[in-house]
Amino acid sequence: MIRNEAILDTIRMFQDEKLDVRTVTLGLNLDDCSSPVLKHLLDKIHARIRISAAHLVQATREIERTFGIPVTNKRIAVSPIATVAAGHGPDGLVRVARCLDDAAAEVGVDLIGGYSATVEKGMTTTEGALIASLPEALSVTKRVCSAVSVASSRAGINMDAVLRTGHTIRAIADADEANNGFACAKLVVFSNMPEDNPFMAGATHGSGEADAVINIGVSGPGVVQRALQRLIEGADGDLATGEDRLTLVDIAEEIKLTAFRITRVGELIGRELAKKLGVQFGIVDLSLAPTPQVGDSIGEILQTMGIARVGAPGSTAAIAMLNDAVKKGGAFASSSVGGLSGAFIPVMEDATLARAAEEGSLTLDKLEAMTSVCSVGLDMVAIPGDTPGETIAAIIADEMAIGVMNHKTTATRIIPVPGKRAGERVSFGGLFGESVILSVHDAGGSDRFVGFAGRIPAPLHSLRN
């Protein structure tokens, strides 16, 4: 028998604190769809998605009803298209992107990821073609998302790919100028890219995965924030002193406990849905992913922890503790924790972070420091539209270095907003939010460095065998 108080605690997470399952992502292996004949390739990909994902949305809806848990997004992640479509050029690859878009629309999913390439050590002809196709592929499709892995702790940083990606991001923004470069929000550049990440835009069905697998992304910054608020307000009322006073250890424990409960929600939904669909359950990714709504913000958690203005000194320590406690709670809750699992700090998607950026307390440099201890990187950061490709590449290189040297996943999702300068605003609406355009200081100051290209060798500690 479950205690009434425990039942009400669970209800409160959904009813008052905006807990949801942020995404149900069906991973699909498309490797056997490969064909040198483009039409055959497209037909096979379309059929595979249409058949394998036919019941995804309906089954998810039934699970939502049974458990009374909202599932915000239903998505698909496919095998890296640069491998599936090996041998095809940029035009053919754009046709593949359109095919993915159509199939995703047909089965009713929000986004489809996997228009991807893995180039951390070297780049095949098709992988190069895929990167070249991105400006068109991402601007003519609605649902297609892309991830490019340019670095890993084992391989180092492929600076040829980084430089090329930097220029490509500019080209994507220019191709999608009518939408303020929104297409760039559908491209993630990774180091140590996970193969089971359910969150977009970086979801890809990795080579070590089964034919079909359900991965779950749970969120819940609001639940964590409210739990900490209750804890801290309660402690303030107690006027405890000495060893009884509230400390950061207590705050970390509260985050762990809350993360435990949130993760359990994700695992439950993942297992039930996988059973219903007759596919394997993969992982639950507990990532505190904010939305622009009030009460669903990482920035609010940091404020509750005592950082009055996000970006102020102490912000990195606070988010390090938050990220670590989230992982610990999640790891105890489930042996299937995977993906990214941490605290995201996507500036545009978090109203409090966006406000801190506007007020000047949260800068690109401070964000970079924070990403060294949290998940996942410079995420949804709008920069001036005239930022040179070399400078974008240098920003990417910095973020990749943090990941490579620390054996962690890092990423960038940068949007150079065409025609806009630092301090101006951009809005993408809905969950993608809005923010001020952040200043990139000393743009062009690292052109010579990134111009050397080649590869930054893998760090010494990669030699583990």
Binding site: I2, R3, L8, T10, G68, V265, A333
Partner: protein
């Protein structure tokens, strides 16, 4: 609410005691003969007083469930009396032992009319402003769909009501329609009513969650 099941206590017995327990299993597993209920203003020592009378008469206690609602103590006990025990004597002795205007009933045990249909357990919660007849409204909706309450608590304070129930629903119940019916009934009365699968609450509150997936 406390619940004692003597069969479950064997985990705590030493090895010799375990054999004694096994020897007694025939009695414990045999059918109950009587149901005892006690309703009395709450105070210390009620359980001690009741079980002292039972022990003195050699009555086997097979199951017990007790709760306190608004300062009133109530307990239901499943018993096995042998043929020599005088039922009236037991009830009177318990009333005398409690001596606080307790209501004690001892009636012959009758097995349930029917086994519950196979199905799934759900948790119903309703929170909001107190509304006359809302428990009855919810109960009728559940009953009309073949559901059975296995546990129910309702508390109304300062104009706010909180209802929490465990409900067994038979397989095949149109869940979505039932949820809609409950939500509508709740909304009309100013309450938010939710019906969610029991496993959600196990998953979020109990460490040993995975065994529910075997």
């Amino acid at each position: 609410m406390a619940r004692i099941d003597q069969r479950g206590e064997s985990h705590f017995l030493s090895l010799p005691s375990r054999f004694e327990w096994l020897a007694g299993i025939r009695i414990l597993m045999s059918s109950p003969t009587h149901i005892l209920t006690v309703l009395t203003p709450d105070r210390r020592g009620i359980i001690a007083a009741v079980t002292e009378v039972l022990d003195r008469h050699g009555i086997q206690l097979q199951e017990l469930s007790q709760t306190v609602v608004r300062d009133y103590f109530t307990v239901i006990l499943v018993l096995r009396l042998d043929e020599r025990t005088a039922e009236e004597t037991v009830a009177v002795e318990i009333e005398t032992a409690l001596a606080t205007g307790a209501t004690v009933t001892l009636v012959p045990y009758r097995a349930g009319a029917a086994q519950p249909a196979p199905g799934e357990r759900y948790i119903l919660t309703a929170t909001g402003t107190t509304s006359a007849g809302i428990v009855n409204t919810i109960a009728e909706i559940i009953a009309n769909r073949g559901g059975n309450f296995s546990d129910l608590s309702s508390r109304s304070d300062d104009g706010a009501i909180r209802i929490i129930a465990e409900i067994d629903l038979p397989t095949g119940v149109p869940l979505e329609q039932l949820q809609i019916d409950l939500e509508h009934a709740g909304a009309e009365a100013g309450l938010q009513v939710r019906l969610q699968h029991h496993r959600l609450f196990v998953a979020t509150n109990e460490v040993a969650f995975r065994r529910y997936h075997r």
